[in-house]
């Protein structure tokens, strides 16, 4: 069996990174992002990256640190509202941006990893998103053709994993990670706990190891929260502390 386990994020990315490559990065907001692998890409300094990710982190965390390092040429995302640097770079023309509806983005990645070059969806018909794309009628309704999406490298984050590359996610930190794991020519997974073979319940594995080339246990997990919202114990009243 090929040994997939790597000691560090830097070691896992050794020989994989190059300027101009396309990288998929899992996560929704700051939830379920591969924070150790992002930091290693920051350190490696590769440039002109096209990054496929639902969001682009915040100014000083997540993919935001690659923006700050001037490493990203283009983003393919559904929502980038949390990032001020993003706005500045985009408005000054230093950053290209392709918006995909969130479900279309998820399905493009799923399709890319599943060997499906294109599919038809109702989402975006009659909007800017459908411009320049084939629109076809099925059973009396219009659908727009969207292309499957693949990447040179996918970086994903899971809760637990084993040496086979099997991954188990936790709560809403799953999000885009399972599809992205299938769509990378090379997929690197970081996990909070790298466990012995046999310790994962096979029924609970969301990403089978066949999709994962390298796996590492992250050195540190900050797991920053974007918006902590809580309620008071005394009352049912809800309060928000941003």
């Amino acid at each position: 069996m090929a040994d997939k386990v790597r000691k560090t994020a830097t070691e896992a990315l050794n020989g994989v990174l190059r300027d101009g490559m396309t990288i998929m990065a899992g996560g929704f907001g700051l939830c379920g992002i591969p924070e150790n692998l992002i930091a290693a890409i920051r350190e490696a300094g590769v440039k002109d990256l096209t990054v496929v990710s639902n969001n682009c982190g915040i100014d000083d965390f997540g993919l935001g640190i690659l923006l700050a390092g001037g490493q990203i040429k283009k983003m393919i995302s559904s929502y980038v509202g949390e990032n001020k640097l993003f706005e500045k770079l985009y408005l000054s023309g230093e950053l290209e941006l392709e918006f995909n509806p969130q479900g279309t983005l998820a399905e493009r990645i799923r399709a890319g990893g599943a060997g499906i070059p294109a599919f038809f969806t109702k989402t975006g018909v009659g909007t800017l998103v459908a411009e320049g794309k084939e629109v076809r009628e099925f059973e009396g309704e219009l659908y727009v053709m969207e292309r499957g999406l693949k990447a040179d490298l996918s970086i994903v984050k899971a809760w637990k994993g084993d040496a086979e590359g099997n991954l188990v996610y936790r709560k809403t930190a799953r999000n885009f990670n399972p599809m992205m794991a299938t769509a990378g020519a090379v997929t690197v997974a970081e996990v909070e706990q790298l466990v012995e073979i046999g310790q994962l319940e096979p029924d609970h594995i969301a990403t089978p190891g066949i999709f994962v080339d390298h796996i590492l246990q992250g050195a540190v997990y900050e797991k920053r929260i974007e918006r902590t919202t809580t309620r008071l114990r005394e009352a049912a009243q809800q309060a928000e502390h941003v």
């Binding site: 907001g29 639902n54 509806p101 479900g103 989402t123 018909v125 809403t172 599809m179 809580t230």
Partner: protein
């Protein structure tokens, strides 16, 4: 004095039915969760991958792995489930969600909705809104009736880029409730304190009155 944000959320909550699976957008739609009638079972879907959203956590119990689509920390219920973004949008696009309640910038009399970009300004992105309006069975929009400048938002045609074409079924504003369908708009309820003359003065779209 017309309806407040809370009044609009409470009115939107009357669109809920027992057993519904519902997706609530950011802003006023989020408040609808506070008005689910006692004894009614409504399951809230969060498009980042959760069915059965619970309330905000108690202080000190926030879990970074558990957020809603607005990136707020939330909690799970005994009945909750988690899934990938692809599965989440299979629910949405596949017509399995009964009701989507979301905000709007403009609504047109043909049911067009614009709520994701203003050309020339920073565009944050459409997130899941385009998928929701395309795939969910019933779409309810909750928005202020007029812009801060006083410009109308219920129009003959939207002049902002669309989120979806012909997708809105019901519009709730601070002035009233409008049913939209078949290319026509019907005013079915006036907000407390609003008058028909006021609605007419602040609306560009043609509408029938069915109070």
């Amino acid at each position: 004095m017309a309806w407040t944000r809370e009044d609009m959320a409470a009115r939107a909550a009357r669109e809920l039915k027992d057993g519904f699976y519902v997706n609530l957008g950011i802003g006023i739609p989020t408040l609808v969760a506070n008005y689910i009638p006692e004894g009614m079972q409504v399951t809230l879907q969060s498009e980042n991958g959760m069915l059965g959203m619970g309330p905000f956590p108690y202080e000190g119990e926030a879990d970074p792995d558990l957020i809603n689509a607005g990136k707020q920390t939330i909690t799970e219920l005994d009945s909750s489930s988690y899934f990938s973004s692809a599965d989440s949008f299979a629910m949405i696009r596949g017509g399995h969600i009964n009701l989507s309640i979301l905000g709007g910038m403009q609504v047109a009399e043909n049911g067009d909705l614009a709520n994701w970009m203003v050309p020339g300004k920073m565009v944050k992105g459409m997130g899941g809104a385009m998928d929701l309006v395309a795939g969910v069975k019933r779409v309810v929009v909750v928005m202020e009736h007029s812009e801060k400048s006083g410009a109308p938002k219920l129009l003959k045609r939207c002049n902002l880029p669309l989120t979806g074409a012909g997708v809105v079924d019901l519009l709730i504003t601070d002035l009233g409730v409008f049913e939209i369908g078949g290319g026509a708009v019907r005013l079915t309820e006036l907000a407390t304190g609003a008058t028909l003359d006021e609605v007419k003065a602040k609306t560009e779209a043609d509408f029938a009155v069915a109070l």
